[in-house]
């Protein structure tokens, strides 16, 4: 891939061919909302000291949770990683709840018990990640096992980064899932860095996808910055898993367009990579495909973008007015009441 993909000749134009204006606009909306919410968190609220803890965003990687998340049916279980905010938006979590979560307010999904993307809601069928990478993989395998146990046709979606695939839990989880042939879709966000460690120091094989067949799991590699391609691949994976053929692995090649966390300037990333991958921005590419296909006029795109900014403004205001939890809540909910 060369520079300047968000122009004529972008492969995303090809992958977009099967899509409708409505679908493309949904992709664009959720990616843009994720970008706006995370930009405010990382570049405004964090720097203003309003976020009390860590900030980990998915800048440049929005096509992965959006493309995969919109391929899931409402009853499918989602196991997001920490750069998959759009999954929450897709399931109906309001941006104001996300801001409140980051700010440690009771309006967040965990009422201040945990921060950043460490949140879940079983009613929305989203399970909260823990900080030990890949721990969700066997948990998702177990959820998928239970779906088959109960005779449903639901699927579990598990998201993780390239770094997580070095953990034993990843390998144990894939192996167990494959032996049991459970309906599990595995989505790898290969953003090429695990904190400061580049992929070549993380693994000696060329692709995460290469590991799938070793476990008897079919795998494919997809352009992780092309939301249409990610969505199409996820649909293939869902079809495979839902029809009882077992797990399916998708490796989304992308790039982390920021530090590991808000405090990390990522000086270890060679400068040319920012430029190369900046030109492959998934939102710009989706926007280009929409305009090229005349699925929306530029004014409509601008209206969507300004609508998002207004929604985010009021969401931040709401979150800042959400109280901190009272210290009297400290001892509650360690066990069932």
């Amino acid at each position: 891939m060369g520079a300047g993909l968000a122009v004529a000749g972008d492969p995303a134009l090809e992958s977009a061919r099967e899509y409708s204006a409505e679908q493309a606009r949904r992709f664009f909306y959720y990616m843009s909302m994720m970008r706006e919410v995370e930009d405010r968190i990382e570049r405004k609220l964090y720097r203003q000291g309003k976020i009390v803890g860590g900030v980990y965003v998915g800048r440049g990687q929005e096509a992965i949770p959006v493309g995969a998340g919109l391929a899931a049916a409402p009853d499918d279980m989602l196991f997001p990683s920490h750069r998959d905010m759009a999954l929450y938006l897709i399931r109906g979590v309001h941006p104001r709840q996300i801001f409140a979560q980051y700010m440690g307010r009771i309006g967040g999904l965990t009422r201040g018990r945990d921060g950043n993307m460490h949140m879940g809601d079983l009613r929305l069928r989203i399970v909260a990640i823990i900080s030990a990478m890949a721990a969700s993989v066997p948990v998702a395998a177990g959820a998928a096992l239970a779906m088959r146990y109960k005779g449903t046709r639901d699927v579990a979606f598990c998201f993780f980064g390239d770094g997580a695939t070095s953990r034993g839990d990843w390998h144990e989880g894939l192996n167990l899932a494959s032996v049991q042939r459970v309906p599990l879709v595995l989505i790898c966000n290969n953003n090429q860095y695990a904190y400061s460690t580049p992929i070549e120091k993380q693994m000696a094989c060329a692709n995460v996808a290469d590991r799938g067949p070793a476990y008897g799991i079919p795998a494919e590699i997809v352009d992780g910055n092309d939301v249409f391609a990610v969505h199409s691949a996820a649909l293939r994976a869902v079809e495979h898993a839902r029809s009882g053929l077992g797990p399916y692995l998708i490796e989304c090649k992308t790039f982390r367009m920021t530090g590991h966390s808000a405090h990390d300037p990522a000086d270890y990333v060679p400068k040319h990579l920012w430029k190369t991958w900046g030109e492959r921005d998934p939102i710009d590419r989706a926007k280009y495909a929409i305009l090229a296909n005349q699925w929306a006029e530029p004014e409509e795109i601008a209206a969507i973008e300004s609508g998002i900014r207004r929604e985010v403004d009021s969401a931040i205001e709401w979150a800042e007015n959400s109280p901190y939890p009272d210290a009297s809540e400290l001892l509650e909910d360690v066990y069932e009441r």
């Binding site: 909260a128 823990i130 066997p138 192996n175 066990y335």
Partner: protein, 323 residues
Amino acid sequence: MTTTYLEAIRQGLWEEMERDPDVFLLGEDIGVYGGAFKVTAGMLDRFGERRVVDTPISESAIVGAAIGASFMGLRPVVEIQFSDFISCAYDQIVNFAAKCRYRWGAGVPIVIRAPSGGGIHGGPFHSQNPEAAFVHTPGLKVIAPATAYDAKGLIKSAIRDNDPVLFFEHKALYRRIKEDLPEEEYTVPIGKAKVVREGRHLSIVTYGAMVHVALEAAQLLDGEGISIEVVDLRTLLPLDEETVLDSVKKTSKAILLHEDTITGGLGGELSARISERAFEYLDGPIVRIAAPDTPVPYSPPLEEAFLPNLTKVVEKARWLHKY
């Protein structure tokens, strides 16, 4: 009919499997083989592969899968073949299962059964008592039954509990301890200790296999005019502090006895609570009897020296009685 400790656990599991179609078993060699100790013998034939799942050797994935299945409304019961291997699943238990309810309100109704304890020449990796690490983890419940009656009643309560429960079965008791169990169904509440022998001069607070050592010591010392009360904790987390304190307040002397190694063991925690809340009742130092801070050795003379036993308990009890 007389029932062994092992058979009691098997019965408890079996009854819960019959009662609730959402209860299912996961573990290594539990199906066709019936489990390394045969606790799940016959269950595959009765309940089928769907509900008795033989897994790869992947303790972390087994516990993780149980957590995931519990989110979907099932009630998984995991067997860790030997509790020594539970360390492989530490992250799933301590970071995932134990913290979900507090963090985001998701209960994790799983049971993790783990045969533990020494006295069978199992050596360093088939004899450990890893309960203390989990007692140090808020969000878990930890059970260590000493009798067939309690083992059956507590495994049933554990399965019905909506929080993650670790169930440490002492494997030296599996076939050694037996008693008549009630015909009718019963459960034993989690979080309740039991005074298994009443006495006046000193209290021995203990659990698991050491309950039987304590009872033997009490019997023997009764002949010397020393009246010993034995408290069986049964549940280690949450601790039934009230029953322990009531006993110590009555006798004014306490021996804290466990097979686990001494440093960081339950004895230290119990000792602190007694001195914080019953100091003015004490008429002698709080005494700990536990294994020394070594791995569990293999060779019989070494293992015998490692494990607390009747001689050690009797000696310390005499000394404390005279104090």
